[in-house]
C-alpha cells in the first residue's frame, strides 16, 4: 500500500499549522474572487505569484491551488443568487440555479452546489493520488521527440476544446508560441525580437502576459457593460435540501464527478469545460429534459460537481508531465519555476512532500470550503453589493503592484497594459486568449525539444512518427483535428458552445 503510506506522509505535511494557514488563505481568497464577478483565478494567481517567492514551495502551491478550487465554490454562489457567473465555470449553473433562487429555493441550490463540490473534490483528490504516480513513471521515459509530440497534442486538444472558430484558436496558439520566443535564444545566445530593449532580453514574463490578457482585458470589458444586479439575499433561509432533492441530485453528482474528472485531465480542459459537458450530459439523459432551465436541481448538482472535479484533476498533467492543461496550470508551473523547481515527472520523486502535501491539502481545503461557504454565505453575499466602480481600481492596484514587484521595473507594467489592449482587440475579434497563453508558455520548451529531437535523429523529421509513443500522440492529434473538422461534429460542437454565449 504505497499510496496509503504516501497519503499519510502528505497529510503529515498538510497538517502542519503553517500549511493549514496557507490552505485557509488560499480557500478564502478563492471564494472571495469566485464570488466577485470580474476577477478570476488566473488574474488572482498571477497577482500573487511574485509574493510566493517568499514562501516555501509547498506553502506556495497549497495556497495557489486553494485559490483555484476555492473559486469553483465561490462562483456558484454568485451564479445562483445573482444570475451572473462569478466564475466562467459557473456559467451553466446560472441557468437552473438562479431559477431555483427565484422559486425561493436558493438555500437548497447553494447547499447542493457545495455538497456536490465537496464530494467531487474528495473523489478527484483520490484520482490524483492513484493516477499520477504511474503517469509520472511513464513520462520519465520520454525523450525530446515524445515531449514535442505530446506538446503538439496538448495544444491541438486545447484548441479543439476552446470555443469559437477552430482555425482562429490554432492561429492564437501559434501566435502565443511566437511571443514565447522573444528574448535570448538559449542555444545560440542571439537576442530575438528584442529591438535593443534591454528589458526584453529575458523574454516577456508569463505572469505579465496573463495579467494583461485576463486581468486588464476583463476589467475593460466589465466597465463597458453596465451592471445590473438583482440579488436574492433575503431568501436564503432554509439551507438543507429536501429528501426529494437528495434523491434527484445524487446521480447527477456522481455523473458530474466522473465526467469532470475525465475532462479535467485533458489538455485545454479543466473546470470550464467540465461544467459544460456535465450540464449537457444531464440534459441529454434526463427523463424530463424540459425541466432544465426552470430550476432543476440536477442542473446545479452536475456542473458544480464537475467543475470542482475538473479543477482538481487538471493538476495531473501539470504535476506528472510538467505540461499545463490550462492557464491556471501554466501559472502553477510559473510558481514552481520561481521556486527553482523544474516542473516534470521528476518532481514526484525528488520532492514527494511537495506532491503528496499538495494532494492532502486539497482534501483538507475542500473540507474548509464547505464550512466557509455554507454557514458564512451571508457574508459572501454582502460582498456582492459592493459596486464594481469600487472594485476595479482596487483590482488594478493589486495587479500593478504584483507586476511591478516582479523586477521593480516600469517596463513590465507597460507590457501588461499593451497585452491588455491586445486582449481587448482579440475579444472583439472573437479570438480566444486561453490557447495563446498555453502557446506562450510552451514556445521555448517546444523549440528546445524540436531541436534536440532533430539533432538526435540527424535531421530526420520522421522520428516523430517512428517512435511509438510519439507516433501515438501525433496520430491522436490528427484524429482530433479531422474529427472536429467533420461537418456533422462541427455542428455539434458549435451547438454545445452556443449555450454558453446565450
Amino acid at each position: 500500500m504505497e499510496i496509503f503510506h504516501n497519503l499519510v506522509m502528505g497529510f503529515g505535511v498538510a497538517f502542519t499549522p503553517i500549511h493549514l494557514l496557507y490552505a485557509l488563505i488560499g480557500c478564502l481568497l478563492g471564494t472571495l474572487i469566485g464570488v466577485l464577478p470580474g476577477i478570476g483565478p488566473v488574474a488572482t494567481i498571477a497577482m500573487l505569484l511574485p509574493i510566493t517567492f517568499n514562501l516555501s514551495p509547498v506553502a506556495a502551491l497549497i495556497m495557489l491551488a486553494g485559490i483555484y478550487y476555492g473559486a469553483q465554490y465561490g462562483g456558484s454562489t454568485t451564479a445562483i443568487l445573482v444570475n451572473i457567473p462569478g466564475e466562467s465555470s459557473s456559467v451553466v449553473t446560472c441557468l437552473d440555479g438562479y431559477q431555483m433562487a427565484r422559486q425561493g429555493r436558493a438555500g437548497p441550490a447553494l447547499a447542493t452546489a457545495a455538497i456536490g463540490s465537496f464530494f467531487a473534490g474528495c473523489v478527484a483528490t483520490l484520482i490524483i493520488a492513484i493516477a499520477a504516480p504511474p503517469l509520472a513513471e511513464v513520462a520519465l521515459k520520454f525523450g525530446p521527440a515524445e515531449y514535442f509530440s505530446l506538446m503538439v497534442f496538448g495544444l491541438i486538444a486545447a484548441t479543439v476544446l476552446a470555443h469559437g472558430s477552430l482555425i482562429k484558436a490554432i492561429a492564437m496558439v501559434v501566435w502565443g508560441l511566437l511571443f514565447g520566443l522573444i528574448g535570448t535564444d538559449v542555444n545560440s545566445g542571439v537576442l530575438r525580437y528584442t529591438f535593443n530593449i534591454p528589458e526584453l532580453s529575458d523574454g516577456i514574463g508569463f505572469v505579465i502576459v496573463a495579467m494583461g490578457m485576463f486581468g486588464t482585458t476583463e476589467i475593460i470589458a466589465n466597465i463597458e457593460m453596465k451592471d445590473k444586479r438583482e440579488i436574492f439575499t433575503s431568501k436564503v433561509s432554509n439551507l438543507w435540501p429536501t429528501k426529494q432533492d437528495f434523491k434527484d441530485a445524487w446521480g447527477s453528482v456522481l455523473r458530474g464527478t466522473a465526467l469532470g474528472s475525465c475532462l479535467g485531465i485533458l489538455p485545454g480542459g479543466g473546470a470550464l469545460l467540465a461544467s459544460f459537458g456535465a450540464y449537457s450530459l444531464e440534459k441529454k439523459i434526463s427523463k424530463n429534459p424540459e425541466k432544465f432551465g426552470k430550476g432543476a436541481i440536477e442542473g446545479v448538482a452536475a456542473p458544480e460537481s464537475a467543475n470542482n472535479a475538473g479543477a482538481q484533476t487538471s493538476f495531473i498533467p501539470m504535476l506528472t508531465l510538467g505540461i499545463p492543461s490550462n492557464a491556471v496550470m501554466a501559472l502553477m508551473i510559473g510558481a514552481l519555476m520561481i521556486q527553482g523547481i523544474a516542473p516534470g515527472p521528476q518532481v514526484m520523486n525528488e520532492k514527494p512532500e511537495l506532491f503528496w502535501g499538495l494532494i492532502a491539502s486539497m482534501w483538507l481545503g475542500n473540507l474548509m470550503l464547505v464550512v466557509l461557504n455554507l454557514p458564512l454565505i451571508g457574508m459572501w453575499v454582502k460582498l456582492l453589493t459592493v459596486p464594481y466602480r469600487y472594485l476595479f481600481p482596487s483590482i488594478l492596484v493589486f495587479m500593478s503592484i504584483g507586476v511591478f514587484s516582479l523586477s521593480n521595473n516600469a517596463f513590465d507594467v507597460l507590457i501588461m497594459a499593451i497585452f491588455g489592449v491586445l486582449g481587448y482587440l482579440c475579444a472583439k475579434l472573437e479570438c480566444e486568449p486561453a490557447p495563446m497563453i498555453l502557446g506562450f508558455i510552451l514556445g521555448p520548451l517546444m523549440e528546445e525539444n524540436l531541436r534536440r529531437a532533430m539533432l538526435l535523429s540527424r535531421g530526420d523529421p520522421t522520428v516523430f512518427v517512428t517512435k511509438p509513443i510519439s507516433a501515438a500522440f501525433m496520430i491522436a492529434s490528427v484524429i482530433l483535428l479531422v474529427v472536429v473538422a467533420l461537418p456533422a461534429i462541427r455542428k455539434k460542437r458549435e451547438e454545445a458552445f452556443a449555450e454558453e454565449t446565450k
Binding site: 482555425i167 492561429a171 520566443l181 466602480r389 476595479f392 488594478l396 507594467v413 517546444m446
Partner: protein, 199 residues
C-alpha cells in the same frame, strides 16, 4: 467583393501581418541553420510562416461565409496609427531634447488619454484603464508609491461610468493604507514611498 464576416477578416489580417513580420524579421536578422542544427531563425520562421498561412485561410474564409455580424470597435485603424505615431514622435523628440524616455512615455500617454476622452468616448474605459497602469509603473520610481497609486486610482476610476471625487478619494485612502501595510510593511517590498526629491 463583399466581406461576409468582418471579425474573421480583421483577425486574418492581424495574423498575416504579425506572422509575416515574425518570419521576415527572422529571415533577415538571424541565422537559419539546418534541420539538424537549427539556428535561431529556424523555429520562428516556421511558426511565422504557419501563422501567415492560417491568417490567409481565415481571411479567404471571411469572404466566403459568415454571419455578417459587424465588428464593433470604439476606435478605427487610423486611430491606431495616430497612437503609434504619437509614441514614435515623442521618442524622437526625447532624443532631440535629451530627457529620459520614461517621462516621454508618460507625456505621450497623457496626450492619448486626453484625445480619447475628447474624441472617442467609446474607448474611454480601454484607454484610461490601460494608461492608469502605465502611469503607475513609470511614476513609481520618481514619485513613490503614494503618488503613483493616486494616479492609478483616479485615472482608472475616471474611465468608469460614474466618477465622484469624494468616493474615489475615500477608495484611494483605503487602498494606499492597505498597500503600505501589506506590501511595504508586511511583505517588505522595496518600493519608495515618497518622491525622490523629498527623501
Amino acid at each position: 467583393m463583399k466581406i461576409k464576416s468582418p471579425k474573421d477578416f480583421w483577425s486574418g489580417l492581424m495574423f498575416i501581418a504579425s506572422g509575416g513580420f515574425f518570419a521576415v524579421w527572422a529571415v533577415f536578422h538571424y541565422q537559419m541553420g539546418t534541420a539538424v542544427r537549427m539556428g535561431p531563425a529556424y523555429f520562428p520562421t516556421l511558426l511565422g510562416g504557419l501563422l501567415t498561412v492560417l491568417g490567409v485561410i481565415i481571411l479567404v474564409g471571411s469572404l466566403a461565409t459568415g454571419d455578417e455580424e459587424k465588428l464593433r470597435l470604439p476606435f478605427n485603424i487610423v486611430d491606431i496609427a495616430i497612437v503609434v505615431a504619437i509614441y514614435i514622435v515623442a521618442g524622437y523628440l526625447a532624443k532631440w531634447i535629451g530627457i529620459s524616455s520614461d517621462w516621454v512615455i508618460i507625456a505621450a500617454t497623457l496626450v492619448i488619454c486626453a484625445l480619447a476622452v475628447l474624441y472617442r468616448p467609446g474607448a474611454r474605459g480601454l484607454v484610461l484603464v490601460s494608461a492608469a497602469c502605465v502611469f503607475y509603473g513609470y511614476l513609481m520610481k520618481p514619485l513613490g508609491l503614494v503618488l503613483a497609486t493616486a494616479a492609478l486610482v483616479f485615472v482608472s476610476a475616471f474611465g468608469g461610468h460614474e466618477f465622484k471625487w469624494k468616493e474615489v478619494a475615500i477608495l484611494y485612502v483605503v487602498l494606499i493604507v492597505f498597500s503600505v501595510l501589506v506590501f511595504v510593511k508586511g511583505l517588505t517590498l522595496p518600493f519608495p514611498m515618497w518622491p525622490e526629491f523629498m527623501s
